[in-house]
């Protein structure tokens, strides 16, 4: 975000996000869809598995809302910073995880989630944060 392209169309961010999602897809057999989105709900990139992605064009913005609401709760209770929000449904689950200090989230829908998925998402988000860190300018930081 240097006045040219918005963050979700920044080629460097899109490239690193694509690489991170490919890793996640490889590790998580029950993944239906994973997405990197901005904190304010724009989709950066996605990967859909053969299991079929749920049909919702609001996934990026809903993820943004979920983590912000979680964050408001964590703040009200003085529990520090929010790392992730997880919601379990009877036929699948949704995970929204922050990407380090970048205004980005990793969103993943599993059907259902397995034990490895949460850990894989944590490692992939940390990897993406690190991949973006060296050249990150202040504008890339979360407000």
């Amino acid at each position: 975000m240097n006045g040219l392209a918005p963050l979700h169309r920044d080629p460097r961010v899109v490239e690193a996000a694509d690489a991170a999602l490919a890793q996640l897809a490889e590790r998580c057999p029950t993944l239906r869809i994973a997405m990197i989105a901005t904190d304010d709900g724009f989709e950066v990139t996605r990967v859909e598995s053969a299991l079929g992605a749920p049909d919702d064009d609001r996934l990026a913005s809903m993820a943004s809302t979920l983590i912000a609401l979680g964050d408001a709760t964590i703040r009200a209770l003085a529990l520090g910073g929010t790392s992730h929000v997880a919601i379990a449904g009877t036929r699948g689950s949704v995970l929204v995880r922050r990407v380090g200090d970048h205004p980005l989230t990793l969103v993943a829908v599993f059907a259902p989630a397995t034990d490895v998925d949460g850990k894989a998402a944590r490692m992939v988000a940390a990897g993406l944060a690190a991949a973006l860190a060296p050249e990150a300018e202040p504008a890339l930081r979360r407000a």
């Binding site: 901005t38 304010d40 709900g41 609001r58 809302t65 205004p103 930081r141 979360r142």
Partner: protein
């Protein structure tokens, strides 16, 4: 009187979160995220969930204030938040292109609240010389809610006194309608 639930709607950067911060007697609950696309509005953060504040009007009269995200990709929150609301404040900035079109759009999205309760429009960022803007906004509101006049205020969302005037006129309007609708 019972509790009032008032919803603040309107486009990104109109001043919804600012207004609720200016009005609230409690520390507001907010869900701001980094604004990563300055094309919409040139500000650091944008609401992605809701704003919540409260005003005490008396020992047992409370007003609950909810702000929605202005950007339409969060319109699922518009549906969720309008269910309980009895009053609507539509904010728009005078410096946006075609503010009257934005009023039409956002008032239409929340028209059920305006119809069952009450509605006022607040125009922020007003500068001297914007002479016909009021008429254009009144016309836009009339096109959506033709059955009654919709008050339009020029104000600064940062100013608690001005916001309170707008809010009290809305609450008075709602209470009058409730009182008149009670069969005698």
């Amino acid at each position: 009187m019972p509790e009032h639930v008032i919803l603040f709607a309107g486009p990104m950067g109109a001043g919804k979160s600012t207004a609720i911060r200016a009005l609230s007697d409690i520390e507001v609950i907010s869900t701001e995220a980094t604004n990563t696309d300055r094309a919409g509005a040139d500000k650091d953060t944008t609401t992605v969930g809701l704003d919540y504040g409260e005003i005490d009007l008396g020992p047992d009269e409370k007003v609950r204030l909810y702000g929605v995200p202005g950007q339409s990709r969060f319109d699922f929150m518009w549906s969720i938040l309008q269910e309980r609301a009895m009053g609507l404040v539509v904010l728009v900035s005078a410096t946006m292109p075609e503010p009257e079109r934005l009023v039409h759009e956002h008032l239409s999205a929340f028209a059920p609240v305006a119809r069952r309760g009450g509605v006022v429009i607040g125009v922020t960022h007003v500068e001297p010389g914007m002479t016909d803007l009021g008429d254009r906004i009144v016309q836009a509101a009339h096109a959506v809610i033709p059955e009654r006049p919709t008050p339009v205020f020029a104000l600064d969302a940062r100013d608690p006194q001005q916001m309170r005037t707008l809010l009290l006129s809305l609450v008075a309007d709602i209470e009058t309608r409730i009182a008149m609708a009670v069969p005698s």
